[in-house]
C-alpha cells in the first residue's frame, strides 16, 4: 500500500471514526457519570431514611402548634441528558412511544431538587416545609438545529416553618 491510498483511506475514515468515538464516548462516559450521580443521591437519601420527612404539599401546617417563624425556601438545578440519550430520544421520536433515555436525567433532577430542599430545611433548623411546588422548564433550545445543548431546569419551593419550643 503506497502513501496515496493510505492517505485517502484515512481521509475517508476520519469522520465515521470521529462520530463513532463521540457517540460511543457519550454513551460510555454518560452512563458512568450518571450512574455515579444516582448512586450518590441514593446514599444521601438513605442516610436520611430514618428521620422524619418534613416536606409536603399541604397548604396548612401539619401540627396545631405555635409557629415561631416561617420563610420561603427554594432550590433549583439544571440537568441535561447526554448526547447519546438525545440521539436515542430523537430516533425514538420518529416512531413515538415511550422514550426511556430522557427518563433517567429528568427523574434525577426532580429527586435531587426535593432532596436538596429537604437538606436545606433540616440544616437551617426548620421543622417542616409545606406547600411544596416543583416546576420544570426547558431552558436552552435554540432555533438552530445543530445546537448540542439541552437543559431542563427544576425548581422546588415551599414555605419552611419553625415551631416554637415553649408549647408542646
Amino acid at each position: 500500500m503506497d502513501n496515496a491510498t493510505l492517505y485517502t483511506l484515512i481521509c475517508n475514515l476520519f469522520f465515521p471514526v470521529l462520530g463513532l468515538l463521540i457517540w460511543g464516548g457519550s454513551w460510555l462516559f454518560g452512563n458512568l457519570h450518571q450512574n455515579k450521580l444516582l448512586l450518590k443521591l441514593d446514599t444521601e437519601e438513605k442516610a436520611l431514611a430514618g428521620t422524619v420527612n418534613p416536606v409536603s404539599n399541604l397548604s396548612n401546617p401539619s401540627q396545631a402548634r405555635q409557629i415561631d417563624s416561617s420563610s420561603l425556601v427554594m432550590e433549583s438545578i439544571s440537568v441535561g441528558p447526554s448526547w447519546w440519550q438525545m440521539l436515542m430520544g430523537s430516533i425514538k421520536g420518529l416512531f413515538g412511544g415511550k422514550i426511556h433515555s430522557y427518563d433517567k436525567m429528568l427523574t434525577y433532577g426532580r429527586r435531587v431538587v426535593i432532596h436538596r430542599l429537604r437538606m436545606q430545611a433540616i440544616q437551617s433548623g426548620f421543622d417542616e416545609v409545606i406547600n411544596l411546588r416543583v416546576e420544570t422548564s426547558m431552558i436552552s433550545k435554540k432555533s438552530k438545529n445543530d445546537d448540542k445543548t439541552a437543559a431542563y431546569e427544576f425548581t422546588a419551593y415551599g414555605t419552611a416553618i419553625r415551631y416554637s419550643a415553649s408549647q408542646d
Binding site: P61, S76, V79, S82, T159
Partner: protein
C-alpha cells in the same frame, strides 16, 4: 434573603394575622447565557448530568426577580408577600425570563 420581609407561598403567613392587602406585586428579569459558559455546558452535555453553570445563572436571576418583587412590595408599605409563585419562560434562543409574583400584605 428576606431582610425583614416575610415571604411565603401559602395563602397566609403561618402563625401570623394578615391586617391589610396591597394587591399583586411582581418582579422579573431576563437573562441570557454567556457564550463561554454555553460552550462549556455543551461539552458537559456530552455526558449529561447537572450543568452547574446554568444552575448558578438561574439561581442568581431568580434571586434578582425576588428582590425586585420585594422592592415593589416595600414601596407600597407592605411587610410580607403571600402566595409567591415563580414562572420561567424561554423568550428567545438562549435567553430565559424569570418571573416572581405574589400578593403584598401587612402582617402584625
Amino acid at each position: 434573603m428576606s431582610q425583614g420581609m416575610h415571604l411565603s407561598n401559602t395563602e397566609t403567613v403561618p402563625g401570623k394575622l394578615i391586617t391589610g392587602s396591597f394587591g399583586l406585586v411582581q418582579g422579573s428579569t431576563v437573562r441570557a447565557k454567556n457564550v463561554f459558559k454555553d460552550i462549556g455546558a455543551g461539552f458537559k452535555n456530552m455526558v449529561g448530568g447537572e450543568l452547574k453553570a446554568y444552575t448558578e445563572l438561574l439561581q442568581e436571576a431568580r434571586n434578582e426577580a425576588l428582590q425586585r418583587m420585594m422592592m415593589d412590595a416595600q414601596s407600597r408599605g407592605a411587610n410580607a408577600i403571600v402566595n409567591v409563585r415563580f414562572a420561567t419562560s424561554a423568550v428567545a434562543g438562549g435567553a430565559a425570563e424569570l418571573f416572581a409574583y405574589g400578593t403584598a400584605v401587612t402582617v402584625e
